[in-house]
Structures are given as C-alpha cells and as structure tokens.
Amino acid sequence: MKIFVKFDFTRICNKVIEDTLHSLGIGYTIPSFGEIEIDDKASSESIKQLNERFAHYGIDIIENQKIILVQRLKDAIVDMVFNEESQVNVKSSVYLSEKLGHSYGYLSNLFSEVTYTSIENFIILQKIEYTKSLIAKTDLSLTEIAFKLNYSSVAHLSTQFKNTTGITPTAFQRIIAKRRELANNPTN
C-alpha cells in the first residue's frame, strides 16, 4: 500500500522545536519562524543538550556558540573585577584563556567581533564601573579604592578614570552628590 502525504513545514519545524525545548524543561517563546526566545534561567548545560538534540533534526543554532562564549567571557571578566576572592596573580590573558579553554588570540578576536571593543578595554571599563559604584555608594577614599582594585597608585586609577570617562573622579563624585541634592529638592 502506498500513501501520500503533504507537509506543513512551518508547523513541523515549530513542533520539533517546541517538543525538544519542552522535554529539556527550558522555558521559551517563538516570536517568529526561525527565532526562539529562551528563558534566561536556562543553564549552559541544558543549552548544550539543546544544541545536540537540534543537530539530530538538522537544526543549527546560528552564531549562538560564539555569543555564549562571549557572554561567558564577560561573566568571567566581571567576576574577576568585582569579586575580590577571584582576583588572581596571573595575567588576565592567561587567566581567561585557562578558564574558558581557548587560546587568548581566539578569544580576543571573537570578543572584538561580537562586542565592537577589545577585552582589554572591556576590563578597564568594568574596573572604572566598579570604581564609580564605590564612589557613589561608599565612603571609601580614592586611595582605598585604588588599593582594593589592585592599581599600582591613585594617580594610575585617576588617569584611567579620566581617560575612560572624560571627567575626573572628583568631578564624578560632585555630580553624583548634586544629582542627589536635586532629586531631594526638585524645585531648584
């Protein structure tokens, strides 16, 4: 006996995607064909499984590997900067390439391609962000902050702050203080 079938491709594809995600317990929505919005809470392990199951059906996650790797790289950098216990004595290039299991050259090229900035600049940006939040939220002096962030001197931190933001740490502190004052007395 021979039977004939016709296919609704969109429906088949979406059904495969839905069933796969469901079986892995990943929360998702499908905004449009070929696009899946995955719950942020999904672990990197389940994303890996998802990749494997999708591959079985001939579904490839486009670019995702790259973007995931860049995200892991960013997370590692943020952790390195903000978490004192993670502060390391090796050079950050060695640290990052060991932690992520790729050569630094590869990571560096990939990072620039996806984020439009270099790893070095991103590390500086994060350190300056940390400095800003310490200035805004704590009473630590700049000397203490420089020490906390492993800068060789206050002058070095000060210069890097000025080069990155265009303003001095003192001016930053003054502006944040005045903003608070304005927020408390909105009539001015």
Binding site: K74, V78, T115, Y116, T117, F122, L125, E129, K132, S133, A136, T165, G166, I167, A171, F172, R174, I175, I176, K178, R179, L182
Partner: protein, 148 residues
C-alpha cells in the same frame, strides 16, 4: 525595534550639523538608524507620541529655538518612559559650568562639537560603542557619565 540596531535621534537647528551627523553614522561599524529634528518642540512631540520607539541614544543641541536642549533634558528626565535612553549633549559650548549643569540634570554624555569630520566620526563611534556595552552588559546607567 531590532536589538542589533542602535536607534539614534538628534535635535539640532543647524542644517549642516544635522547632515554631518547623519553622514558620520553611515560610516560606522555598528549598525545605526538615525533620525533628526530641527528644534526641541518637534523632538518632544515625536518622542511623546505613544507608539514611537524609544531611541537608544538621544543627542541634544543646547541652543535651539522654541525649546532649548536643557528644557528637553529636564522634561525627559521627569518621565519614566525614557529611563533606558542615554542622553548626549551635543554643543559648541565648552564652559565648565554648562557641562556640569547638564550632567547634574541627568545627561549621560557631553560632546563638544568637533570642527572636523574625522574627529566627529571617532567621537560618535566611541559613544555608540560605550553605549552598546551599557546596553548589552547590564551596566548601571545612573553612573554613565562620559565627556568627549
């Protein structure tokens, strides 16, 4: 709005400045969509339109007819709708008082208009790149201050 495109809006009464600005963005690596308005009233009318997309970065000239950049800035900062939008002041003035005053009133970026096109391109590229990091890495916008 596509997440990969940076949506940029400029309000400036000088036609040449608007033209240079748009051309500079055309040559950047990051994909942008640029829209311009010629005074503060036209700008605020467009922004306040309910179904309008919120720009990623708004560039404001300080001296404009009808409504100045500072007035627009104050209005914008009062509204919750624009809390994720970076505001850049784009002005010929470089008085320290003006600069600090705009920062205190909530501006994120202060750009002194450069005199040549290549400098403008470099500056705008810096602004969009840093804003991109804030956008994609969840940095605290309250602490986003940049002077170029």
């Amino acid at each position: 709005m596509n997440k990969d495109v940076t949506y940029v809006v400029l309000a400036d009464d000088d036609e040449d400045d608007r033209l240079f600005f748009t051309e500079a963005f055309d040559e950047l690596k990051i994909t942008t969509q640029v829209e311009t308005y010629e005074d503060g009233v036209a700008l605020m009318k467009a922004l306040n339109c309910e179904d309008a997309s919120i720009p990623n970065i708004l560039f404001l000239d300080l001296n404009m007819p009808k409504k100045s950049g500072l007035e627009c800035l104050k209005e914008i900062k009062k509204s919750k709708r624009f809390q994720d939008m970076a505001v850049a002041i784009y002005s010929t003035s470089a008085s320290e008082e003006d600069i600090e005053n705009t920062f205190v009133n909530g501006a994120n970026i202060y750009i002194k208009k450069p005199s040549d096109f290549n400098t403008l391109k470099r500056i705008l590229s810096d602004v969009v790149t840093i804003n991109w990091q804030y956008h994609t890495s969840g940095l605290n916008r309250d602490n986003f201050l940049l002077r170029l």
